[in-house]
């Protein structure tokens, strides 16, 4: 961590102990922790929304639409950490120009585009009626302001000229949504499972290399996605209840707006079902992770000596306390002990998201905590205050930027495709 006349990439935040090869540093740092974390959220949110559309889990109606919009807001952010991490970010487009298909990263652009296209079209079918109705309402207004005019044209463009909202047409939209959601599940799993493959296929890294990695990644992705959707859903519902109580904005003029009691009961019901799904996926994820660890301990191949020291000693707190105890066991208890409330579930989801983040951290950073020589260790010290571009993008604030972006996007997106629709506009 010495500030050198010529610091090599990675040197700034790596401290070496005992024998580490001269060229070894923690090259994949916080942004590569963020990358699977964010794609995981995208994939997970989408899977939650599909539960309603594909498997017809009726109780999840509201949270499903919410998750769909949220997963769209998260999409551009899945790309961000990768770009922020590149040494030559302006050449990022080379991946599209000369994709080298023996590389697990090369298909990222293609999978990502396919997935974006599916989500975007699903949203379009889901909200076409809303676009049409908004256009019509605005067109019917006689005293349109300049802004209203703009809005009208904007929504008109969004309808892509499909103005038919007869029952049959809406039914067709329905079917399209269902088909896309079905198609989306494997693609979402692929998008993320393959992030797991990027790590799992690195044979040089004793901690990463396991065929279980993609599956572990998918399960924990779904866990984090559902948890985040529950959390955001609760927060927005609380805001809506708060506004409903004080008769603010929509509740001031619109008598058909849901009352506080209606909101409350909807919230309780949706959370109850969604958190059950959360539990199932948590069990799956945990089982696989523990299996992986037991297997390594049992087979004790050459690398086990150093892995054991990293897992059971050096990173013990990060793995067993932060990831498993705080991020898995505690929220699990919070959700299964009798008398579960929305508040308790909400606290549990925060812990679950933290736990998944720690899992990504322990995989990415933990995998670089020991030397290829098996005789030394590397410690990661994340740059906190940004002193230059490098310490910003590969530091705490870079990570915070990545984390905050989806919420900003969601706020704007919500103006166009409201996550909470009035009953008559909704499917």
């Amino acid at each position: 961590m010495v500030e050198h006349a010529m610091a090599v990439h990675g040197e700034l935040w790596t401290v070496k102990e005992l024998f580490v090869l001269p060229n070894e540093y923690i090259y994949w740092s916080i942004q590569i922790v963020m990358y699977p974390f964010m794609t995981g959220l995208v994939a997970g949110a989408f899977v939650l929304s599909s539960l309603y559309h594909v498997f017809g889990v009726k109780q999840l109606k509201e949270i499903a639409r919410f998750s769909l919009v949220f997963s769209f807001a998260l999409l551009p952010v899945a790309m961000m950490p990768l770009l922020l991490h590149l040494q030559q970010p302006f050449r990022g487009i080379n991946v599209m120009m000369t994709p080298h298909f023996t590389s697990a990263i090369s298909a990222f652009g293609i999978v990502f585009m396919t997935y974006s296209f599916i989500v975007a079209s699903e949203i379009w079918f889901e909200y076409r009626k809303h676009f049409v109705l908004t256009t019509q309402t605005l067109a019917a207004q006689t005293d349109r302001s300049g802004f209203d005019n703009l809005r009208m044209y904007f929504f008109k463009v969004l309808t892509l000229g499909a103005m038919d909202i007869s029952n049959e047409a809406i039914q067709k939209d329905h079917n399209a949504v269902k088909k896309l959601a079905t198609l989306g599940i494997p693609v979402a799993c692929f998008l993320h499972g393959y992030a797991g493959f990027i790590f799992g296929s690195v044979k040089a890294n004793a901690l990463w290399m396991t065929p279980l990695m993609p599956v572990i990644f998918i399960c924990s992705a779904v866990v984090s996605g559902i948890a985040l959707c529950i959390l955001c859903y609760v927060v927005t519902m609380e805001i809506r209840k708060f506004m409903a109580k004080r008769k603010m904005s929509r509740w001031a003029k619109d008598t058909s707006a849901p009352t506080v009691e209606q909101l409350q009961s909807a919230e309780t019901q949706e959370i109850a079902i969604a958190s059950n799904y959360l539990l199932y996926f948590m069990i799956a994820a945990l089982t696989l992770e523990i299996l992986d660890m037991i297997f390594r301990g049992y087979t004790q191949v050459k690398s086990w000596d150093i892995l054991r020291e990293v897992i059971l000693e050096r990173d013990f707190n990060k793995i067993f306390i932060m990831q498993y105890a705080i991020g898995n066991v505690l929220p699990f208890l919070l959700m299964v002990l009798p008398g579960r409330t929305v508040r308790r579930t909400t606290i549990a989801t925060v812990l679950v998201i933290f736990g998944v983040f720690m899992m990504r951290w322990n995989v990415v950073i933990g995998g670089q905590a020991f030397s290829l020589s098996f005789s030394g260790f590397m410690h990661y010290h994340m740059p906190f205050l940004p002193t230059n571009w490098e310490t910003f993008r590969e530091g705490f604030f870079g990570a915070v930027t990545v984390m905050a972006t989806p919420f900003v996007i969601f706020w704007f997106l919500n103006k166009i495709v409201p996550a909470f629709l009035k009953e008559d506009e909704a499917h």
Partner: protein
């Protein structure tokens, strides 16, 4: 038909049938070269001869513009010390670019130096390392843009103008041969001094080694004295278990060297 004619014709038919189908294909010279090129570069390191002077590292950094202030290097030398009470120490201070001038062992920037009682030393030796120019390199396999590749004469190179700097190849190399160039900000590694060997010169490190611990050869030329050593003597490679088929061979490799 006379018996002789019959024999003749039969021979012609058999000969014709035994020409492999592939021989009728159009011949792609590049494929032929790749299948059986006259040149395939390999490296030979004699660890008995290395004294840890670090001249090779210095020569490499100078030849290939890797700044001396930067703590990365295309080649480096490791020192192994085993004590009689069965402890093992390894170090490579600043990649040994100034040689091993200190008897103490470097335990890392923040952990100081370890004094070792000379009477307690069991065995000690030096191991020079560099990119192995593997036959089946995982580093080129994982590059998402194909910026790093293997040439037909067996050298693994990086295209500086195309590398996006993702670091995947650095992660994939089991030998720690790769790093980010401190000023070019792209992946960098040993090139076997491709700019020199293709002109008939030796690599900078081979040229600089005063004890001939480093040698290069064309492994397809069985008359080359270095090739003869690789083919006839007992040589080993590093980390065989990764299946990368390294092309840098070692004489006197201890199993503890990883």
């Amino acid at each position: 038909m006379k018996r002789r004619d019959f024999m003749k014709k039969t021979i012609v038919v058999i000969a014709g049938a035994s020409v492999p189908l592939s021989a009728l294909d159009l011949i792609d010279p590049k494929e032929v070269l790749a299948a059986n090129p006259e040149i395939h570069w390999a490296f030979l390191i004699d660890t008995y001869k290395c004294v840890g002077c670090g001249f090779c590292v210095k020569a490499c950094k100078t030849e290939n513009d890797i700044p001396f202030e930067a703590n990365v290097s295309r080649t480096w030398v490791e020192r192994y010390v085993y004590t009689k009470d069965d402890r093992r120490y390894v170090d490579s201070p600043q990649a040994a670019q100034y040689g091993f001038t200190e008897a103490k062992i470097d335990l890392g920037e923040h952990f100081g130096f370890q004094e070792i009682d000379p009477d307690n030393v069991g065995k000690a030796f030096f191991v020079p390392k560099l990119c192995n120019h593997c036959e089946t390199p995982p580093c080129t396999q994982v590059c998402p843009v194909g910026a790093t590749y293997k040439t037909d004469d067996g050298v693994v190179l990086v295209d500086r103008s195309w590398c996006i700097g993702c670091g995947y190849c650095i992660m994939a190399c089991p030998f720690g041969a790769r790093f980010f160039h401190p000023t070019e900000h792209v992946a960098d590694k040993c090139t076997f001094c491709y700019h020199r060997i293709t002109k008939g010169l030796e690599t900078a490190c081979v040229n600089a080694c005063p004890f001939s611990a480093r040698k290069m050869c064309n492994i397809r030329d069985i008359n080359d004295p270095v090739t003869k050593i690789i083919l006839n003597e007992r040589v080993g490679v590093l980390k065989d278990e990764f299946g990368t088929r390294p092309q840098a061979f070692y004489i006197g490799l201890a199993s503890e060297v990883r």
